[in-house]
Amino acid sequence: MDRDEIRVAVLRIEGTNCEDETVKAFREFGVFCESVHLKQFYSDMIRDKEQRTFTDYNCLVFPGGFSAGDYVRAGAIFSARLKSVLQNDLEDFIKQGYPILGICNGFQVLVELGALPGFDEDRPIAEKPEMVLGINDSNRFECRPSLLKHENRGKCIFTRKLEKDVVMFPVAHAEGKVIFPKGKEKEYIDGLVQNDQIVFRYVDTKGSYAGYPWNPNGSTYNIAGICNITGNVLGLMPHPERAFWYPNTDGRAVIESALDYLGRI
């Protein structure tokens, strides 16, 4: 696929607020990228020229923000709306191997949706959520740079062009603590490691796993980002699109990797 054939949608609903910078980052690489409201995919109140389907795109991004005011739980309402009208389309999209990126609130949406951790290749969206991004241990909104060790061995299509071992992406969230079902933590972590689904883990300046404040939320196994079993769905709490412009450009590789991957299919 040539660059000019690539079409990226940044999905939003009420309360999403990082769509503009995300669109700008993708466009920087010369691809078509637009921010699309979820209702453009299903509502009959939309003008013809604004109606969309998932088949219009080959990359989807769930951006940061506070979708639906974070009511019920962060990401829960966005994911419920997706599930009610677009679950099959989304499953097809994942099965076809197209990239889906969830940043911060977008990660929360993918987790609530059951698309992450995404252990089942044949059923890329689980019936029930299998993990949680819970309230930070500090009970505060943590907004600052975070250091991330890149641990993926090649499965995640979003980090194949990442050359650095440790990158800096800022975090800005109140609910980012990865929690797995009680008593099954080891099983989940082992599974993620074995399947090469761990992508980023919080570290300190020496590159060692460390507690607060390096791990801003108390996340299990210092997890900052994971991908699904097929590597084409990535969710992460830190914001790569906020580490995009000089002098902090570590995040560019995430978008570039996805576009490079698309260029090869």
Partner: protein, 80 residues
């Protein structure tokens, strides 16, 4: 019919909101406070033929949206 759906964290799950509230209450001089935990309540008014069928429907609501079963439990209490 009206039901209150109480959503609470499962045992052993950290409750930073409850902990922070407890700390603040003790700072305010409420030294007798032993523990504080957070709850969320949704009051749902529903049309149904019977309480049983309403309860079945509310259970589905919990499973589909209101709780994340990894960390939360729910209880239904009928108001009327």
């Amino acid at each position: 019919m009206i039901a209150d759906v109480y959503i609470e964290l499962k045992e052993g799950v950290a409750d930073p909101e409850g902990e922070a509230t407890k700390k603040a209450l003790r700072l305010l001089g409420f030294k007798n406070v032993k523990s504080v935990s957070s709850r969320k309540v949704f009051r749902i008014e529903i049309d149904a033929r019977s309480r049983d069928s309403a309860e079945r429907e509310i259970k589905q609501m919990c499973e589909k949206l209101l709780i994340n079963p990894v960390i939360q439990n729910y209880q239904i209490r009928w108001v009327e």
